[in-house]
């Protein structure tokens, strides 16, 4: 079962909640940090990330001696990543989406595919004891500095996970391509929000995205009590299950500043998260069985 933790807005506590869910689980679990621009889940789990690998994408490289500057490659490229100007053909590989079209269409066989590193995966595992002893495997995706294309890194991180194990996916914030890549094909999405006007605004965008993608989801309110009741009102009006409210508590901020997670500040949360995981697995069961 794959559960994505997402939010329309950054800084709602998505990462701390993902970590807490993985720690509270009563069976072996994988936590995938797909917030590849700013992965920070590893800080809270103290994992030994001893495996390192590159994420690469294929990009075209040009053999100038074969190219006759006919411009066919640039005509087919939907991303303006290759262009012929006068007697020069240029490739902008940071804009290339690896569709391979230019290579197919080149009459001179002047283009060949080469792998380019755009990010990294670091992984490892350790033993967790938050009431229930279990193994937590951690996969961290990170994008190489200066690269713009995060979806391939997110897909690679997700692909590395064992499909038969409980998987928690910490998604990038927002509702654009990276977030959609992270939540795509998950069995359930938990949207984390804050009870503030900003939280509500971004929650609405995230809800729209979930509905567009036809994904089952529920809402968690973090820092409950620091704002108003509008998020709760919105959820009940829209018939969206609000499955958990985590109260605004100084202990959480103090723990966070020490690099400690939600559960070391609020140990009483662990059983609640465990039963939430159980509930989600019951809710998604028919769907999962139907898919297989």
């Amino acid at each position: 079962m794959k559960i994505a933790i997402a939010s329309g807005k950054g800084g709602t506590g998505k990462t701390t909640l993902s970590v807490a869910l993985a720690q509270a689980a009563d069976k072996n679990v994988q936590l995938i940090d797909c917030d590849v621009e700013e992965p920070n889940g590893h800080i809270f789990i103290d994992a030994q990330l001893d495996k390192h690998e590159d994420v690469t994408i294929p990009i075209p490289v040009l053999d100038k001696t074969l190219c006759n500057n006919c411009g066919k490659c640039g005509e087919i490229c939907q991303f303006n990543a290759i262009v012929t100007i006068g007697d020069k053909t240029m490739i902008f590989d940071d804009m290339c989406h690896s569709c391979g079209g230019c290579i197919l269409v080149c009459p001179q066989q002047a283009l060949t595919e080469q792998q380019k590193t755009i990010g990294y995966l670091d992984s490892g595992s350790n033993t967790i004891n938050c009431g229930q002893v279990h193994q937590l495997s951690f996969i961290k995706g990170s994008i190489k500095i200066g690269e713009a294309m995060s979806p391939p890194v997110i897909r690679a991180a997700k692909k590395k996970a064992d499909q038969n194990q409980l998987t928690i996916i910490d998604c990038p914030p927002g509702t654009s391509c990276p977030m959609m890549t992270a939540v795509c094909d998950c069995d359930f999405v938990l949207l984390v929000t804050e009870p503030t006007p900003f939280g509500l605004h971004d929650l609405k965008l995230a809800v729209e995205t979930m509905r567009c993608m036809d994904l089952p989801f529920a809402v968690i309110v973090n820092r409950d009590g620091c704002g108003d009741e509008r998020v709760s009102e919105y959820c009940s009006a829209e018939k969206i299950p609000l499955v958990l409210k985590i109260k605004d508590d100084r202990r959480v901020a103090t723990a966070y500043s020490r690099g400690e997670g939600l559960l070391s500040a609020l140990p009483e949360l662990a059983p609640k998260l465990r039963s939430l995981l159980d509930d989600i697995s019951t809710w998604t069961k028919p769907a999962t069985e139907g898919k297989q």
């Binding site: 640039g74 991303f79 303006n80 990543a81 262009v83 012929t84 100007i85 006068g86 020069k88 240029m90 902008f92 804009m95 713009a148």
Partner: protein, 120 residues
């Protein structure tokens, strides 16, 4: 020699379009014949990325050897320089004013992109 000026209008009195890649069109002025043609850049207004690159291709394909615009991003700059096109930034308000500045030698060729790109 031909020079392309980014503009939102269709006459010499029209304002300069400060954007290069997403300019509405280019007025391509022929300095020998003293006449001009208009080249549409509309297809680029909605490009998700690489508008500057395609605009550079458009002006090169229409035979211009220099451009005058407000701002030019790093990729367009790279493409234009590779094609040997001189890039001038003008603070003039109309196409005619920019041409006059050019003819009086008041414009200096840019040696670097003067805005950050904004593709995602």
């Amino acid at each position: 020699m031909k020079i392309a000026i980014s503009t939102s209008g269709t006459t010499l009195d029209a304002p300069i379009d400060p954007r290069f890649g997403r300019a509405v069109r280019f007025l391509v002025y022929d300095l020998e014949q003293n006449n001009f043609t208009l080249v549409d850049n509309e297809q680029n207004l909605n490009a998700t990325q690489g508008a500057g690159i395609q605009a550079a291709k458009t002006v090169v394909d229409c035979g211009a050897q220099a451009i005058i615009s407000g701002h030019c991003g790093p990729k367009a700059f790279q493409v234009l320089s590779a094609a040997g096109i001189a890039i001038y930034h003008s603070d003039g308000s109309t196409v005619a004013e920019a041409l006059e500045q050019y003819n009086n030698g008041q414009l200096q060729a840019a040696t670097d992109a003067n805005v950050e790109g904004h593709w995602v």
